[in-house]
Symmetry: C2
């Protein structure tokens, strides 16, 4: 995108040539809205409402308890996980859709510390997505002196990996800056010191051509409600590389991770494979919604998704540089170093975002001073990018964000 | 129910006089089915499909990310928890609807061990619902020598509580036998030794007039998909008595339990009150379905629910004793000592249950030899009980269960 298109006509040509353009019709999106927040909550696939209505009325209402077998509710975490596997470079028997990202991260970090009892440090990044740090801190508080969370700035983090490091826990694409860690290289650095590598894919699954096995990753978690469009609070997922499955144990050893849950034995015997990372009864309605979205994704090529995402973000950066001077980009300049969202710094970022939302451009605010825009290639068009920058420029020039209404904070920002 | 009704006409009079009879119309139930498995998966309330369709199409599809505020998604765990509180004798600020029963139990048992680091034993019952034992065993494996799970038979359990007991963890109504612990008495016994009392209400919430605060209970968990009719794998709930809320900490300290999740600070500060037991992003679709059911329950008097449940189970026992001689009851004989499900022992229990299901009487099998029947007073009628016993008698007399089809096991029993 060296020569940036300067006219709506040229922009529209990009949309006509977009191999993913037809996917937008698979979503229910108000045509008056430019939705640049799919990195926080993905849009609603058209197939979801019908799939969920079927799960409720036919499977639950008519099938009742029998649907655990007849509609294979019992296999849903594995079946849905298998459909996520393709998107993240994993085998279908390495992924489960279950619980929340936070709970899944606790399972994996706890498991990693149990695998390497002589190593006491969990290493992560200062400013990592807070729930990841909080979950690791909670594990530390529970375990007392057995485990220590060490947090280092991104720049010096790699030099902190040592013989005491049980696991390195990083978010592949940073939730704010959008900075992307080079997965294979970082994983190799962890392995060189004998540490496990745990990736949080919340901001990359469904957006980038993630290749966990290509990177020799050990463990991973990710989110179902962002680029996977599973709905608010959708079940999350976890990944355990095959080579670890025989030895690893989940600290959250609920009955669904037992080798024979319906034998009702007092003693716990972990199921074979990744199944041992199941815990309680699977959330069937949430899984049905997530599966509808994954089925819609079907055979979509993740390399094409990532390429379109790079083009969309490049276009936004170029147009914003031209139309919104003095709005500094807070994300890496090179597409290969980013995910599919961008942050810009503005002293009144919260109010600016409210003014944008009022005008139909939905992004979000991240404290303290970031405007964040996400570009899901499944439903964001080049024309959306053009229009969004035009509206952003107008909001900034007119200082529409000075309106006191736009400074009133909501519970969720 | 000393004099048991012997004719369908007398049975129908019980239904006519039943103050809860009208509630059955609030459920979608096939009139040809006698559903005696609401203790495993509650029936579908008529309001649920519409509520869920609204959550999907209007709140998610149209409201998109804004619905966290405009539809108060962010307050859903507390709001739905508050609606459960009334049913279990708790205050609305003591209950959250979140995660699974297994995950919630891990939080509470982990929290109890952190509150009493000098005590090392968690005491539970042999033959307790397996996931409870497995979750406590997982905590033990994670913590190493800091915590020891001790499992004792029900008969001798109370004498095992001692100065080393951090927590006593019991299921109020046993999942198989249906035996009910006297909550206030057992809680007092735990407190007398300085131990915390943790109740699992999975088989009593929505069925019995549970009174957690009346019993001075400390902590509790329970299930959303049994008598609360929240749908397959519905969010579960947890209870933390107000007096503990200031000191207690959750070992699963995700961002939703932070005092200011959207400040995105690196350091964890637990939210005030029970909110600190939230972990990941709440499952909004599952919570919407659960809330629809709780709203349908509205102001239903739990004492009336328990009384009808006692009458239904008494009737079933009396009729079965008369019509199915030689089928031993495996549940306590006195209604006050039971929940709302009954077990009977039969050497071919699995096949008998399959034959019953084929004839429209849906109960379930619990290994190794139990026929289990649950009687949700919200939608089971006295006539259902009469008809079910007639069909059971016929299946046993005709040995319809000898059909080889009925001996083939499914994944979920």
């Amino acid at each position: 995108m060296g020569s940036r298109p300067r006219t709506p006509a040229k922009i529209d040509r990009l949309d006509r040539d977009d191999p993913l353009a037809a996917l937008r019709d698979a979503f229910n999106l108000d045509p008056h809205v430019i939705y640049l927040d799919g990195n926080s909550l993905g849009a609603l696939p058209k197939a979801t409402a019908g799939r969920l209505a079927q799960a409720v009325s036919r499977e639950w209402g008519e099938g009742l308890i029998k649907s655990w077998n007849t509609h294979d509710w019992i296999g849903a975490p594995q079946r849905v996980g298998g459909k996520i596997a393709r998107l993240i470079g994993a085998q279908s028997d390495e992924v489960l859709a279950t619980d929340s990202t936070s709970v899944n991260l606790f399972k994996l970090v706890g498991a990693a510390t149990m695998l390497a009892p002589a190593r006491r440090t969990i290493l992560s990044e200062a400013g990592n997505f807070p729930t990841d740090l909080y979950v690791m801190g909670g594990l530390e508080a529970l375990l007392g002196r057995k485990v220590k969370l060490r947090v280092a700035p991104a720049e010096s983090l790699l030099s902190e990996i040592d013989q005491d490091t049980a696991a390195v826990v990083l978010t592949h694409v940073h939730y704010a800056a959008g900075r992307r860690w080079p997965m294979a290289e970082i994983t190799a650095r962890a392995h060189a010191k004998g540490a496990m590598m745990i990736w949080d894919l919340s901001h990359s699954a469904g957006a980038l051509a993630v290749d966990l096995n290509g990177a020799a990753a050990d463990l991973a978690v990710g989110c179902g409600y962002k680029y996977l469009n599973g709905g608010p609070g959708a079940p999350a997922f976890l990944f355990v590389a095959r080579r670890h499955q025989a030895m690893i144990r989940s600290p959250l050893s609920g009955w669904m991770g037992h080798e024979a849950p319906f034998a009702f034995a007092d003693d716990y015997q972990p199921a074979a494979g990744v199944d041992r990372f199941l815990c309680g009864t699977p959330p069937i309605l949430g899984l049905a919604a997530l599966e509808a979205s994954l089925d819609m994704l079907g055979e979509v090529d993740m390399a094409a998704v990532e390429a379109k995402g790079a083009a969309l973000t490049e276009l936004f950066i170029a147009l914003a540089a031209s139309r919104c001077p003095g709005l500094p980009l807070a994300s890496p300049r090179a597409a290969k170093d980013r995910g599919l969202h961008l942050c810009f710094r503005h002293v009144d970022a919260y109010a600016v975002m409210q003014a944008l939302i009022e005008r139909g451009v939905i992004g979000d605010f991240r404290a303290p001073d970031l405007l964040r825009f996400g570009f899901s290639p499944l439903y964001v068009s080049y024309r959306d990018v053009w229009n969004a920058v035009e509206i952003l420029a107008d909001v900034l020039e007119s200082r529409a964000f000075d309106d006191p209404r736009h400074h009133r904070r909501s519970a969720v920002t």
